[in-house]
């Protein structure tokens, strides 16, 4: 797939186990950093021993689960921390109420109460903790790319607004973010929170029942998501509720 923007081309190829799947055909101004894919299932709690297990045994886990643990194990970035990154880390620390530390292959949440094993933490908090690690170790920096599959998974809807705030901050700092979501709350928060310093694009993918072809429509706001299956689902529930209330 070749993408052209502002007269410059970038070529991407997709295959299993590809390492270098992005080829910059023309000069590309942007710094290119690390890319990271956060899968739906949180893996930090299962990290101890997982990489050896994955390397030496046939287990039915996709490679992305090993990759995310690799990214999380990257040590802290060298040098002074920028104000922007410090603010983001503090924002996450407020949510998880502590900092993440690593002992051997095990992660802990360290706070005033001590060191809490990750298996004892709610999965949603572990997702925030992973984000904290990726910001702290420089995986998410200007020029890097974040792919996050259904960030809403396991996260209390009341926390989604903070999550979106963090992601918009990262985007404003030059992190390219791709999100796949089925969440009304995530979509609306992006729509409501995006400011002039943000570049947010919505893509609605849909499959034509007759031809089985996938089509994509894009737009700059929530209302440009057409078709919007999430809104359709809420409308259907609203209609069912009205049918029940009106009783006719």
């Amino acid at each position: 797939m070749t993408i052209t923007k502002n007269g410059k081309n970038v070529k991407l190829s997709f295959s299993n186990h590809a390492r270098d799947n992005v080829e910059l055909i023309d000069h590309w101004d942007q710094k290119t950093g690390l890319s990271v894919y956060i899968p739906v299932k949180e893996m930090l709690a299962n990290a101890p021993g997982f990489r050896s297990l994955y390397s030496h045994r046939e287990i039915y886990f996709e490679e992305v689960y090993c990759d995310i643990i690799d990214r999380a194990y990257i040590p802290i970035l060298k040098g002074p921390i920028s104000e922007d990154r410090r603010k983001l880390l503090e924002m996450i620390q407020t949510i998880i109420q502590g900092k993440v530390i690593q002992k051997g292959e095990q992660f802990f949440l360290k706070n005033q109460q001590g060191e809490l094993e990750f298996t004892l933490l709610a999965e949603g908090l572990r997702k925030f903790a992973l984000l904290w690690l990726l910001i702290q170790n420089g995986t998410l920096l200007e020029g890097s790319t974040l792919f996050w599959d259904e960030p809403e998974t396991n996260i209390n809807p009341s926390m989604i607004q903070t999550l979106v705030k963090i992601l918009l901050h990262l985007q404003a700092q030059g992190v390219q973010i791709f999100i796949a979501t089925h969440s009304y709350v995530v979509l609306k928060e992006f729509d409501l929170q995006k400011g002039t310093g943000n570049a947010v694009r919505f893509f609605a993918l849909s499959k034509d029942d007759a031809s089985s072809e996938i089509s994509c429509r894009t737009g700059d706001n929530y209302l440009s998501i057409i078709p919007n299956r999430i809104a359709d689902a809420y409308d259907a529930i609203y209609n069912k509720e009205m049918t029940r209330i009106l009783g006719e």
């Binding site: 809104a231 259907a236 209609n239 509720e241 009205m242 209330i245 009783g247």
Partner: protein, 174 residues
């Protein structure tokens, strides 16, 4: 029977009776009791109907903003809409208006704000139902009749749900 509330007209067809209730000249207690805009009696129900029209082209910006703030803060549901329905019920009960005892009372609120989508209307409906409240203490139904159901609509969903109670804007009709 066509009833109007500022710039909104609703044609209540095939009803037993209907009236504009929130009318200072006839209500008589508007200094101390709030009122819903219309009370409609159909064959099977009593409808309390309240109209909110922040998109009225003649609405003052400050009034529109005040409405949006009350919607955002929850006071629209907790104070305004809830009090209007309860006071209307008490007023009618005090007058021993018997149809209100024999027919279930439904409270419908039309908020003419096109940005309210299905998810938000659902949530507002549930919040209003809880604030009235349509169910008595300990989750047990009220023993005496009270407002038994609530629903919130925007103009689009009102038209979809009530093809026989068509609503339109007066200024666009003329």
């Amino acid at each position: 029977m066509v009833l109007e509330e500022n710039d909104i007209l609703i044609d209540f067809k095939h009803v037993v009776k209907g009236e504009k209730f929130d009318d200072d000249s006839t209500h008589g207690l508007s200094h101390c009791m709030k009122a819903v805009d219309f009370i409609i009696e159909t064959d099977t129900k009593i409808l309390f109907v309240e109209i909110k029209d922040p998109q009225n082209p003649k609405a003052q910006i400050k009034d529109k903003n005040k409405f949006l703030e009350s919607l955002q803060s929850g006071t629209l549901i907790r104070n305004s809409l809830t009090t209007k329905a309860r006071d209307t019920f008490l007023y009618r009960l005090g007058l021993n208006a018997l149809p209100y005892i024999s027919k279930p009372i439904h409270y419908y609120v039309l908020i003419n704000l096109e940005t309210l989508d299905g998810a938000q209307l659902l949530n507002l409906t549930d919040r209003l139902r809880a604030a009235i409240p349509t169910i008595g203490p300990n989750n047990v139904p009220w023993k005496n009749p009270f407002i038994s159901e609530c629903a919130i609509f925007n103009l689009k969903t009102w038209k979809e749900q009530f093809p026989y109670f068509q609503a339109c804007r007066k200024s666009e009709k003329n």
